[in-house]
């Protein structure tokens, strides 16, 4: 297949049909009607609109979301607005059997689901740029900008871009992914005209990358000064002081660059529908071989929004990694997984699961007041394996490691509060189960796909 054929096939996979569009628009209208009914109770609601990819007609199959925005008068106190959006969102979604629940990013909003379609009911202030009052105020302006600028052909290229990003695992600005938002995909197509142009440009990217579609700035130097240390800077057309790509991690940026290069070298539909190649179980023993893993499996004692949970998980993953390294283990890689409801897992691949029998223990310099105490302390210490001896100006001993097993060591570190796990998870992690056997984890059917991916540890599109 040549590139054109591949893109045609990808579009067939991801571009919604007219029926699908009609179906989603009907849901949206139903919600808006219901919301408008309730809004009559409040005199500070100015209007209610459909925003996001459905409004822009750039959504892809499998990622349908209906984003309904309630526009408030800018004089409304934020506390009052938050109270109202919760109240209103819950009423509307309950009426439509939408199983509403409270979510929060910068501010609370209400999420629901109608016939497997995700519904978000969000509050924003009606403002004129750049007088933003809350983080959501820009969204209607984003919608308007894209609707005004984008041809229907370009919208298909956005869909290809989103599908490609999904395939490469970089689509989504949420904490779990730290990748590219839908708006960012749209801006890239607006900037590079079409999918092939964008992929070609991305394959040549080398940070820092600067994109300023509306030419808000006169020079790149000016932009770099304003957004220092950011590898990808895409000036938001509706807000020159905002980098629309600030949520993109260096890892996900690199992943997109690499997949663009690989796609251009050997184009394939697989980039759009990656097979998370499960390792055959017959192979698994050879794959695991002499490798060492340690993991913590724990239950969530209470529900929290995915962005909050993932933030806590990544922070804890990092803290435990530092702790393992402090203990003397080399951490090759790590990852976290959660069903976002009740179970979490953090896993590490390490160089060994037992510490060496002895450890080098550095004492004070010989001219330090404490050095005689050090000598005295160690001479009759049963933990002394060798020493004290002098190297340069310091005393050293080799001490027998009293506890050597990673499982016990990590357990103690966590119990004694020496690991800076996210506060919201610390009690759950303490009750968790630490294990070094991946065979055991593979028996858990819900965990197995994640564990297999971790063992294989390669990018899905390779």
């Amino acid at each position: 297949m040549n590139v054109d054929e591949i893109l045609r096939e990808a579009l067939q996979l991801y571009k919604p049909s007219e029926e699908e569009e009609k179906y989603l628009m009907e849901i949206a209208e139903k919600i808006i009607r219901q919301a408008e009914k309730y809004s009559l109770n409040y005199n500070n609601i100015i209007r209610i609109t459909l925003e996001g990819s459905l409004a822009k007609k750039t959504w892809i199959r499998g990622r349908e979301e209906v984003d309904i925005f309630i526009h408030y008068d800018s004089s409304t106190p934020s506390g009052e607005m938050e109270k109202q959006i919760i109240d209103l969102g819950f009423r509307v979604l309950r009426d439509l059997d939408g199983s509403p629940r409270l979510m929060y990013a910068d501010h609370p909003y209400v999420e629901g689901e109608i016939n497997s379609v995700v519904i978000n009911i969000v509050a924003c202030y009606e403002v004129t740029p750049p007088n933003w009052l809350s983080a959501t105020d820009r969204t209607p302006h984003h919608t308007k900008y894209v609707v005004d600028k984008m041809s229907s052909q370009a919208r298909d290229h956005v869909r290809l871009m989103k599908a490609f990003m999904t395939g490469c695992g970089v689509y989504g600005a949420e904490i779990k992914i730290k990748g590219f938002s839908g708006y960012l995909a749209e801006l890239l197509i607006l900037n590079y005209a079409d999918f092939t142009g964008a992929i070609g440009a991305i394959s040549q990217w080398r940070p820092p990358i600067i994109i300023d579609i509306e030419r808000h700035y006169r020079s790149e130097d000016e932009i770099i000064k304003l957004f220092p240390n950011q590898p990808l800077i895409v000036i938001d057309p509706v807000d020159k002081y905002r980098n629309a790509a600030s949520a993109v991690s260096e890892e996900k940026l690199s992943t997109l660059i690499l997949s663009s290069r690989l796609f251009l070298k050997s184009p394939s539909i697989d980039f759009f529908k990656p097979i998370h190649a499960a390792i055959r179980t017959s192979n698994i023993e050879r794959k695991i071989g002499g490798r060492n893993f340690v993991s913590i499996l724990f239950r969530l004692s209470r529900w929290k929004p995915p962005d909050v949970l993932w933030g806590e998980l990544r922070k804890s993953e990092e803290a435990i990694r530092r702790s393992l390294e402090r203990l003397g283990f080399k951490v090759y890689r790590s990852d976290s997984w959660t069903d976002e409801v009740e179970t979490c897992m953090i896993i590490y691949e390490i160089d060994k699961d037992v510490l060496p029998y002895v450890r080098l223990h550095q004492g004070p310099p010989v001219y330090h007041p404490n050095c005689l105490d050090f000598v005295e302390k160690w001479m009759d210490n049963p933990e002394r394996a060798a020493g004290p001896w002098i190297e340069d100006s310091r005393l050293y001993v080799l001490r027998v490691e009293p506890m050597r097993n990673v499982k016990n060591l990590l357990k103690r570190e966590i119990e004694e509060g020496r690991v800076s796990i996210a506060k919201g998870l610390i009690e759950d992690v303490r009750k968790g189960k630490i294990t070094t056997s991946v065979y055991g984890l593979l028996k858990n059917k819900r965990l197995a796909p994640f564990i297999l991916r971790f063992i294989n540890g390669r990018l899905p599109f390779i």
Copy 2:
């Protein structure tokens, strides 16, 4: 015992009797007479003198040496002087059954042995300070300085200082020790008046330490600028541009500081006659436990002066240490041993003797031209355990370590010339035997004391 009693006992142990002195002086006179006889053949020899500790009457029992200096006219070409001293030294010592052999430090000299007393026959130029022509020219001036300045009481304190330094393993400026020369011990006593004063001062030393007995300089700043980065600076009274302590390693300086502090805290005769406490063999298995060692035992294919051999050994010890660390082993400590005739051993204590099953292998950044090659190379590589994945902007894989045993790895490194072993030893080391079993080494009676000391790894005076 109080300090005075201890010092009295130490002096009894180390101060030679009048008979011993007479005996040594007779040997010295005999050599000088013989040398004078031969010197008549050469018209450029000005005089022949006894130098060193015997001339200064500061030698200690067990370290007797007779240093005979042949003074040459300063117009003698150094090649001519070298030829003559070898010729003359060999003749004199052969006549006296002194089994002469050629040695060299900066220049060649002749060493022999008469009734277990070491004899050195050395050439120097007769010059007036500071017009030195060779490294040995200062020695007669050192002798004269000490003889002029030192009372007979102070000479006993020098003996105590030398005995203490011997006990602590820091006596000797030779490469093997990198410690304190006899002349340096004398200067310390001249500076601090007596043994107790010197030990008291040394116990308070904190580098950089500056001693300028003859006040050649007006300020310490001036001295530090002239001798940068030297922890101990003792201005040579007969040569203001020379640091008489430049051969002292930081380790041996620290050892002397620590032993002074320990001696003042708990004075004991043991500091003057350290028992290199052999570990009882019954204890040895418990001592070795789960520790890991690797050693190379090799034979010398030809004799060389100890200073040359020790220089090569230490260089090789350091090179192999770096090599082990490059391979992935942590080196806790190392040491070398030689009988200075035919056998050498270099030994390391390491954290493990087998590498982990996998190793982290860093690839290029995703925007580097080579990164697609890296992906291709690793995808079908049987050594790939996991990856490629992306961290920050780089590719990584985990690769299976094809060879993991320290013995085989080190053998290969040496064979393939990747270890910068001293040239003079490289062939001998290649033929050497690498082993990880210290039990095996302990069966070798000549090695056992060294191996036991290494296993115990502590300062002899502790």
